[in-house]
Symmetry: C2
Subunit: 218 residues, 2 copies
Amino acid sequence: MASKSEQTRRLVADVALRMFRDIGFEKTTMRAIASEAGVSVGNAYYYFASKDELVQELYVQVQAEHAAKAAQAVEGVKDLSGRLRATLHAGLDVMEPYHRFGAEFIATAIRPTSAVNPFSGESTAAREASLAIFRNVVEGASPAAPKKLRTDLPELLWLGYMGVALFWVYDTSEDRRRTRKLIDGMAPLIARGLSLARIPGVSKVLDDVLSLSRSVRE
Amino acid sequence: MASKSEQTRRLVADVALRMFRDIGFEKTTMRAIASEAGVSVGNAYYYFASKDELVQELYVQVQAEHAAKAAQAVEGVKDLSGRLRATLHAGLDVMEPYHRFGAEFIATAIRPTSAVNPFSGESTAAREASLAIFRNVVEGASPAAPKKLRTDLPELLWLGYMGVALFWVYDTSEDRRRTRKLIDGMAPLIARGLSLARIPGVSKVLDDVLSLSRSVRE
DNA sequence: GAAACTTCTTGAACACGTTCAAAACCCGAC
DNA sequence: GTCGGGTTTTGAACGTGTTCAAGAAGTTTC
């Protein structure tokens, strides 16, 4: 059985995540979490050094759900476009309950000092997990992506996903229709764009894009 | 002569912006601003509804400086690549004094509810001014950009600039060398990429990219 | 010049995230 | 059982952004 300590930790985290979903990030005060969980404020801080760390908890959970849902969604889908499309839609599905608070979440995550920042050292593991989702998109695809792109493509797609998430945060259309539309348009376009890589003129430019992207990544 | 009211407003804004630059966003508390300016906290709030609105003030000023510096830097430069490059470097120059705290500002600006958010209604004027800088980049270029791109290109370049700014925030390299390198690599690549638009296969994909980008922008 | 009205200024007060010294609890050693 | 030391829990207190009722200063009206 879980130790008392672990029990309290989970209780606080669960209450916090539920409140985030139900009433949003700002309205979910540390005092409210503590009171709802039946512990003192200081006790919540004993387990989570900051409110941000509770967001980190959410981040990890959403990530895991995305991985599971995406793996299932791409099953049997061969073409890159379809695999990418399914993966992005899966991401949106998983994030949907938090849309109202997505903005606060992004504002928190974007600070380089934040542990939640997707580029920070603390979230290397989470980023790796997220990258793996897109590596799976590329590796399982047939026809396969152009060879010279195969290593960089997952990272570029992941970056694109970050962009989509940003777009999604600002998307106030009903049921996030615009973001869905963006995905549906983007996925086949990326696949078609990649096939252009065979044209010599394009290939040269692409080489330079890749080498720039590599040199700039430290 | 400036009215007393306008004088107080300017005083508060000037003190705030100087403190932002000198000690950073978080350390610049509203109490500190008020005390340094010799007014009460409530008085500062009479002129600026929130701390964010003081950031907005900074945003506007940086913008204006960028416009001036960019206009000067592109003078006599004919090719698109050079004009873009000069404009982006000018932006970095203007932002440099705030780099240490750029992250805090971005975190503030990215919240959809924030008046500083570049996509929000409140900052339409500022965004328009910023867009104009990139419209000038495109319009003054010879050889001219492909006709079908001419309307959308400024917005796309502006979006790219937002991306560069984001990169810059995370750039811890000495003198922001990596961001400078990114700009130097990006500018000619974009120009060369555009010239590919004449290849039929590429042109078709490009058409679809443009139509998607238009349809998704509400 | 007094009265009425608007603009400007004040500082105490509120709720928030966060800290921390102290208390309460737990558990093995004797 | 009780002592000792670690772990867990508490709640008051701090500094923050922000609000607001009250008053001061300035302006218009008669």
